[in-house]
């Protein structure tokens, strides 16, 4: 019905459109009408009716020339419908097949007839012509005639014209008779009530088409409801299909209850277990159980014998242990204990024993090595082998192999122990050698002193045990003090020796004594103070001078020069370093540099002025390294050094020093290296490498040199030509290079085959830009490069499934309003949100955010 209505409306549209159209001659119109018909009838024959014909064709307002319309007299003049349908009655024409089939109608009369007709009507009725305009205009009729006119094929005029009977004609005679009014009322009601008219059913194909249209919409709706799930699935990085796995039976009892015996054995078992007789016997008293529980005589005897045997063994063991326990001889027990200890366990228990054992083992090894007793060197073994008895008798062979085994084990272990001992020895030797290398008495003394110091330092009060008791601690303290005293004395003694032995050693002793708190002597005290002064001075200078570059360099140089002096001065370095802004490590590093003679390298970095000054100090450092004899005492050297330090600083402040300009500095810094030239050379090299120069053609010696003529001719022309070509080609190549005109640039055009492998020629499909593609491979995903917590998620495949788990098709779920808003039905979700999502905060938040966006 819906479709029908739509059709009717479309027809209306068509009627409205009818007014316009090209002015075609009538003959063409006819042919059009003829052609249209079969097209329609091809699909649905039943559909065609006069009205459809009306719809399909154009309406012409102009009249058709009469001579043309009457050409073959086939089409009779017909007055158009004068029967006007109400507005909502149009559809009736669809069914009015009977009328139309019979009726011949045409509009061949054209406009002329219409005009005449209206004029006539006007004359008859006396109404203005405008009243009949609508009537005249709504005729889009073209009827073709299949058969000639006859009494069987009456014209439309006869059927619809003036002679047409209406209900009124029938009603007229009975007017005034009883029941007339009632009848008239009913008829008028019938005429008005168009809805009650039952239409003829639509043709089947048409009906089915309409049905399909409806079904299509429903099916689409049905499919659409899955969209959110499909979308979610497709967008998910991983889809899981291993989630709802029923593990079956979870308990042993459940499994057992389902157990069905299959094999013979199982069946036998089941038959016994499920035996009613047995069950009953259990339930009652067990008397019957005895009957069922028959045991064969043989089995019983066997079991009894076994028990008896075990018992007798136990008894014997008991007897033996009793007898041993009864023995009172201490020697016996001692020997027994020794035996026990000798075994591996014993050796493990007692370290003394172990040592002894090891010694013995060692002795055995040595003996073995000396004698080779077990290496078939024995008399017996020799004889056996010479006579071939070892091959003949198994026992002999076994004995010999056993001997060899013993030898092998002994010698193997021997090697390992030998290694250890030898290394120890070598260590000792090294130490001795060290001593002997620097055989100077001073060294020895230093060593002795160190050792004494160590002993002094090592004396620590233990925290626990007997020694931690107060009186013991006191005693220890006293002892320590004594020891320290002694050590001091010893040290002094060393000093004396040194002084007497050589002046060069004096410095060291002073140094050491200076470092230690307990060894603070008057000699050291004085320089310390002076040093502090200088320290202050350093501080000031540092804070004053904000010029970094050069000035700092100067200072460092000064410090460097000072540092060896400091060493000689025996000053606690830490104090000094704390005052200076630089950390201690740096200074010590500098010192190390200085001491190792790399000072010269550093010279390059420093200014000429400082160089000059530092040079003065170099000999000192060197002298220190080589341990050359000095002409001054340590004290003197110290003081001198101090003065020098002061001198440097003062001189630095006094001299008029001009800071060179930046350009000058750079020039100085890079004096001597011609960068541009170097670059050009480099570029030339690269060019030669990438576009190699052609080889000069060379004649093989002896070839073509037989005669003078040949010699005169020189190289064959083709060789020369080839060479020329190659040269030309090279110049061309060089010109076409990208960097041919860029003087300061080298653009390598060498294709790296290995790097080629790591590039794609085109951007792969899902990626839209190069950056995204490169980013996709940026971070590594391996377990070595990522924490274990995220490796799993980085490597997870798109589909996680488990073999053996049946995957069911998708089940429909309603869209969760708390999830992301679906693109398909955003509006409906919005409506639902306040209702459904009201429970959770998330939904509320979402609602709010939406309101915000709206605002």
């Amino acid at each position: 019905m819906v479709g029908e209505k739509r059709r009717s409306t479309s027809k209306n549209l068509a009627k409205n459109k009818k007014r316009k159209g090209p002015h075609l001659p009538n003959s063409i119109l006819k042919t059009i009408a003829n052609e249209k018909r079969p097209l329609n009838s091809d699909e649905e024959d039943d559909e065609i009716d006069s009205d459809d014909a009306n719809v399909d064709l154009y309406e012409y307002e102009e009249g058709v020339p009469e001579e043309e319309s009457r050409k073959n007299n086939r089409y009779d003049p017909v007055v158009n419908y004068d029967y006007e349908l109400p507005e909502d009655f149009e559809d009736e024409n669809v069914e009015s097949d009977d009328d139309d089939e019979g009726g011949n109608s045409d509009n061949e009369e054209g406009e002329g007839d219409v005009v005449r007709h209206t004029r006539m009507l006007q004359a008859v009725t006396g109404m203005p012509s405008a009243a009949f305009d609508g009537e005249s205009k709504r005729k889009p009729v073209l009827f073709t005639e299949a058969y000639p006119e006859s009494e069987f094929n009456p014209t439309r005029d006869v059927l619809e014209g003036k002679g047409l009977l209406t209900i009124d004609d029938f009603m007229a005679p009975i007017e005034g008779k009883p029941g007339f009014n009632d009848l008239q009322k009913r008829i008028s009601r019938m005429q008005k009530d168009t809805q009650a008219v039952v239409h003829a059913p639509l043709p089947k194909p048409e009906r089915e088409r309409l049905e399909r249209k409806a079904v299509k919409g429903l099916v689409d709706k049905e499919f659409n409801k899955w969209v959110h799930m499909v979308k979610r699935n497709r967008e998910a990085p991983t889809v899981y299909f291993n989630q709802n796995v029923s593990l079956g039976y979870s308990t042993v009892g459940a499994i057992a209850s389902e157990f069905q015996p299959r094999t013979d054995f199982e069946k036998k078992m089941a038959s016994v277990l499920n035996d009613n007789e047995l069950g009953e016997a259990h339930d009652e008293d067990g008397a019957k159980l005895l009957e069922l529980n028959e045991v064969s005589v043989e089995d019983h005897i066997k079991y009894r014998d076994h028990i008896a045997k075990m018992r007798s063994l136990l008894f014997r063991h008991e007897l033996k242990s009793k007898r041993i326990k009864k023995i009172k001889s201490k020697t016996y027990h001692r020997l027994k204990g020794k035996d026990l200890k000798k075994s591996a366990m014993g050796a493990l228990m007692d370290p003394e024993m172990a040592k002894e054992e090891a010694m013995k083992q060692e002795a055995r090894r040595v003996e073995e090595r000396m004698t080779l007793k077990h290496k078939n060197t024995g008399k017996w073994a020799k004889r056996m082998i010479s006579r071939g008895l070892n091959v003949k008798y198994d026992g002999t062979r076994a004995a010999i192999s056993e001997q060899l085994q013993i030898n092998a084990t002994l010698s193997r272990k021997m090697n390992s122990t030998n290694d250890g001992s030898s290394s120890d020895e070598s260590d000792d030797e090294e130490e001795l050698n060290d001593g002997s290398d620097q055989d100077t008495p001073s060294k020895l003394i230093a060593k002795a002193r160190e050792k004494t110091l160590k002993t002094v330092e090592d004396d620590e009060v233990p925290n626990s045990g007997l020694l931690s008791l107060p009186f013991m601690a006191r005693a220890m303290k006293k002892k320590n003090e004594e020891a320290i005293e002694e050590a001091k004395r010893a040290l002094e003694e060393y000093e004396e020796w040194e002084n007497s032995g050589g002046e060069e050693n004096s410095k060291k002793t002073a140094d050491v004594s200076g470092r230690r708190v307990f060894g603070a002597t008057a000699k050291v005290e004085a320089p310390k103070e002076s040093r502090k002064d200088s320290d202050n001075f350093y501080d000031n200078s540092d804070s004053d001078n904000d010029m970094e570059g050069i000035e700092n360099n100067d200072l460092r140089a000064v410090r460097d020069t000072a540092s060896p002096v400091r060493n000689t001065g025996a000053i606690t370095e830490t104090e000094f370093d704390d005052d200076i802004e630089n950390p201690a490590s740096k200074t010590t590093f500098d010192v190390a540099l200085f001491a190792s003679g790399s000072w010269k390298k550093m010279k390059g970095c420093q200014n000429a002025e400082t160089k000059k000054k530092t040079k003065k100090h170099v000999p000192y450092s060197k002298s220190q390294d080589k341990k050359e004899s000095r002409d001054e005492e340590s004290e003197d050297s110290e003081s001198e050094a101090e003065q020098m330090v002061d001198g440097i600083l003062t001189s630095a402040s006094k001299e008029t020093y001009e800071i060179p300009s930046q350009a000058e500095l750079i020039q100085r810094a890079f004096a001597g290296d011609d960068v541009v030239d170097e670059f050009e050379k480099e570029k030339q090299e690269v060019l030669n490498q990438e576009v190699p120069e052609p080889e000069k053609p060379v004649l093989v010696p002896g070839w073509g040199q037989w005669t003078n003529i040949q010699k005169k001719r020189g190289l064959p022309s083709w060789m020369v030509r080839e060479h020329e070509d190659a040269k030309k080609k090279r110049t061309l190549d060089l010109k076409t290079r990208k960097d041919a005109r860029l003087r300061h640039v080298i653009i390598s055009e060498k294709v790296d085959k290995k790097a080629e492998k790591l590039h794609t020629t085109t951007l792969p499909f899902p990626y839209t830009s190069k950056e995204v593609f490169e980013h996709s491979m940026r971070m590594p995903i391996g377990p070595e490069f990522n924490p274990a917590t995220i490796v799993g998620s980085l490597n997870r495949p798109e589909v996680v499934k488990k073999a053996g788990v049946i995957i069911k098709p998708l089940k429909f779920e309603e869209a969760n309003p708390n999830e992301k808003v679906d693109d398909e039905h955003p509006r409906s979700n919005q409506k639902q949100n306040p209702k459904k999502g009201g429970k959770t905060g998330k939904g509320q938040r979402k609602g709010k955010s939406k309101q915000k966006t709206k605002a």
């Binding site: 049905e211 899955w226 497709r234 299959r262 049946i806």
Partner: protein, 452 residues
């Protein structure tokens, strides 16, 4: 004063149990490992090579039929069971794990063309050219099946004779109905001797039918008039129909995307359609060189398997234009039916050489129990390979497949033909007024029209 010290609390490195893995501390600073990308690339290459080495897809063949295998049906409720029917009317139930016949269902006089099992796995429906539909009770799977090879025969539970020969049958998902395809589409109930519904649109016979697993009342058919039609049982009417240039041999619905279906076409391609918009294929899956005879979706919905008249089985991604895998053996003849196992791990093919063949869905997959660490390793290899699959070296190894000579040659010919067509088209376009020659996109090219 703050003193920096190295600390190593005992708790951090002590294992709770002796079986626990030792905790290893890593410094993940990328500056410490400058070569990580190179390392991973190398691993990807190795993984690709290993995949090739371990690619042994063929698990085994099941022989027993005396004629070409015409159709198969998988038991949706039991993984190990697969039904197959042959052209001589023989129906068998196979045990996949032992690859033996469990029982036979004798009775059909002519070729069996359709086979399907109800969702609960209790009823087997078969139909064939002898104009009968037979219902069988499926024997309960017991543990003895695999051990005892007794050939037992089963009598049909019901036998319905009808007017015309049948081409295909499919059972509704979780329902009582099944549909047969023959001269027309008919819907049957288990307990009725005649169809409860019948659909006819046009006069040509229907050659395949498939119910939608997600929407149990919607089904799709293909007919010999080259059409694909979607029906809705609730409205008892067709919904859509398209006419293609060539006939569609089989249809499969995507079980995870109920609106999408893929059609196996006679022209050697498969066409994925959206059921709501049939005038254009969503994707054209090309690779077969001859008619695609059967198609079945993986239960994951991400892949489908096709069997072709060119004696090969291929596995396609649901949204990819070309196949991921091709399976062939020297002895395998025309493939008439394929099935993806219910756990998406295996693929079965039945061919003209009377054999059923069992393949792994992923050629290099390790079967059996896999330890978690092993699993992780596999996953990592896969991920790394996937990441670098676009680089030439890896791509070459991953994509390479050995093809049988006939297929290789046919592919060459097809390529030549396509090239020349394209050339001709280009020239024609170049020499005619702009806009006069309109080329249809590939996805529409083989579709003639959508019928209202």
């Amino acid at each position: 004063m703050k003193i920096k010290t190295l600390s190593r609390p005992v708790d951090e490195y002590t294992r709770e149990r002796s079986q626990d893995l030792q905790v290893v501390f890593h410094n993940f600073d990328p500056s410490l490992r400058p070569m990580e990308k190179a390392v991973e690339y190398k691993r990807a290459l190795t993984a690709a090579k290993l995949e090739k080495i371990f690619a042994r897809p063929f698990v085994g063949a099941m022989d027993g039929h005396r004629d070409g295998v015409s159709c198969m049906a998988k038991n949706p409720n039991y993984l190990k069971g697969i039904f197959s029917a042959s052209m001589d009317g023989d129906i068998r139930l196979w045990d996949i794990s032992s690859r033996r016949t469990v029982c036979q269902f004798p009775g059909h006089q002519g070729a069996v063309r359709g086979l399907t099992v109800s969702t609960d796995g209790n009823v087997l429906v078969s139909c064939g050219t002898d104009c009968t539909v037979r219902l069988w009770k499926v024997p309960r799977p017991t543990l003895e099946d695999s051990s005892v090879s007794s050939e037992n025969f089963i009598e049909p539970a019901a036998e319905y004779v009808w007017k015309n020969a049948f081409w295909a049958v499919d059972h509704q998902f979780e329902g009582e109905l099944f549909a047969t395809a023959g001269a027309q589409l008919e819907i049957w109930n288990h307990n009725r001797a005649s169809p409860v519904q019948s659909f006819q649109w046009g006069t040509d016979s229907v050659i395949s039918v498939r119910f939608n697993p997600g929407e149990p009342d919607i089904l799709a058919t293909s007919a010999s008039d080259r059409s694909i039609t979607i029906y809705d049982l609730r409205m008892s009417s067709a919904a859509r129909r398209i006419i293609m240039m060539t006939k569609t041999n089989s249809i499969a619905w995507n079980p995870m995307e109920p609106m999408n279906l893929t059609a196996a076409n006679e022209d050697g391609s498969c066409y994925s359609f959206d059921g709501r918009k049939m005038d254009e294929a969503k994707c054209v899956h090309k690779d077969h060189v001859s008619a695609v005879m059967d198609i079945d979706f993986s239960p994951t919905g991400r892949e489908f398997v096709t069997g072709s008249y060119d004696r090969s089985v291929r596995i396609f991604p649901y949204n990819g234009g070309h196949s991921r895998e091709i399976y062939h053996t020297k002895r395998m003849q025309r493939v008439f039916c394929v099935k993806y196992s219910c756990d998406a791990t295996y693929v079965l093919s039945g061919s003209d050489d009377t054999n059923l063949r069992l393949w792994k869905a992923k050629a290099s997959e390790q079967l059996g129990v896999i330890l978690p660490r092993e699993q992780k390793k596999h996953e990592y290899n896969e991920a790394v390979k996937n990441r670098y699959k676009h680089l030439p070296e890896v791509k070459r190894i991953v994509r390479h497949r050995h093809l049988p000579k006939p297929i290789y040659k046919a592919l060459g010919i097809i390529r030549t033909v396509n090239d020349s067509k394209r050339r001709k088209e280009d020239r024609r376009r170049a020499h005619s007024a702009p806009g006069t020659i309109v080329t249809k996109p590939l996805r529409q090219r083989r579709i003639i029209k959508e019928v209202e």
